[in-house]
Symmetry: C2
Subunit: 314 residues, 2 copies
Amino acid sequence: MTGLVEPIVSGDVRAAARLMRDLDDRRPGAVEVLKNLFPHTGRAYVVGITGNPGAGKSTVVDALIERYRAMGKRVGVVAVDPTSPFSGGAILGDRIRMQRHATDPGVFIRSLATRGHLGGLSRSTGDVITVLDAMGFDLILVETVGVGQDEIDIISSAHTAVVVTVPGLGDDIQAIKAGILEIADVFCVNKADRDGVDRTVRDLLHMLELRGAQSARKVEIIKTVALSGQGIDELMGAVARHREANSGESGRARAQARAAAQVSELVKDQLIDAAWRAIRARGGLDVTAEAIVARKMDPYQAADEIVAEVLSSG
Amino acid sequence: MTGLVEPIVSGDVRAAARLMRDLDDRRPGAVEVLKNLFPHTGRAYVVGITGNPGAGKSTVVDALIERYRAMGKRVGVVAVDPTSPFSGGAILGDRIRMQRHATDPGVFIRSLATRGHLGGLSRSTGDVITVLDAMGFDLILVETVGVGQDEIDIISSAHTAVVVTVPGLGDDIQAIKAGILEIADVFCVNKADRDGVDRTVRDLLHMLELRGAQSARKVEIIKTVALSGQGIDELMGAVARHREANSGESGRARAQARAAAQVSELVKDQLIDAAWRAIRARGGLDVTAEAIVARKMDPYQAADEIVAEVLSSG
């Protein structure tokens, strides 16, 4: 399987897709390929994009792809879907628009399902970034739909984190979730042709002031109407300025934080895999769950047993 | 520490708070208390409440507390905060309203931070529910702010899952996230005095039809203005009807799913704790991260080493 390394580094899309499938299937040897790709990474610039559901993140990503392509940049996209096993992602209509780039060899789009309970559904974002980076993409856009802790981790480990919001969510300060404010390097107020845009910008400025985030580092607020392309150049300018400002020591610290986060994620994935193996080895959790509901066993005892099995599997 | 069992079962708030603190601090013996509390559980009815940021979930919870109290029910509340280490939750202004119940001995409110990277910040929701259930609370309201996978798991394991949404998020179908639709037993369209409420209800009905969810089981849609209390009785009625409809075999299946989810969560927590111990034992991740950024080590190798340490710790 290490035969995949060379074609992937030369940008071979089919080899990359094959590796990602093998990673999804947990095929032995797939991680070995990642190890061999790793020395070829570190060149791509990763932009994380998150924000309120309904803020139009996919439209912003679509507009960014178009402009970066026009500049001759090759663009990889990782879209993290919070789809359930039921919906299969079909609900995410905005994704359809992005598909028009599917035939452009300078664009590679990969969707990832988020993990289900105890994880295990999807390969990690970090792995896909490793592959795209090794393939020589100049820019990697990582879009997450939603704002759970996992997604905050993903976005905050990007080189530049863009948080997309939208006017009209009312004066409810919860609309911008705690935790999101701190990770934003650039705010994008999309659908800026709507009423209330100035108020949204003012609220963001006010919150940035309250946190002193503005004194610590410059967070730009850019108004866009992604559907018509309005403001996208300004958004790219803000990303470029943030990149410039972080090329030195602070960029290095962030790269280390990113590496540490990736290691943590890999460790978590492997341990969760090990837990699933132990659970499958005991024939699943059905019998255990029945005994718990009948109050014949307690969940703490059951968990202790499974953990003991996992830890003795090494 | 097992001396805490008896006072907690008698409803002693200070003993319960002490146990929760001990659980947070991972004090040895705290889990032993949970094991001993477990036979006293299974009586409380758990209502999960989630939905869009800004939909007014906390206001709905506040209104529910008031009405259930008026009926003489004792109410426990678990609020899961996605607060960052920076914000400490202070941004969540709506929570302040709930505090007016703090002096009512029939109400117990507990906030939980969500886990940070690799988890470990907070005790699990399941543990808190065990304690509140053993204390004899009739109803336990679990509110999660946001809609990540962890929170979907929490809410879908409740007896009744209420999904709160709000008019005016536009026609963007992403506003109701995939995954949320399937777990809703009751939809609450809050701020129903706003424009667009009928459209929101129509959209929900349409989506339920598309999924065939309505044919499989009845999902009620209730309009509320939680701030004024409007519609809250109807919401409680819908919860009661769902409870009634699930008292038989389907309720039993759900109880087992809940037990299995709790075991999975406990296993995950313990393995993540073990990972942290292994990482601390090697002096943290700083040196590793530096080596990775310098491309002297790859993250896959580093993760393999840590996992090997965890698995040999058993």
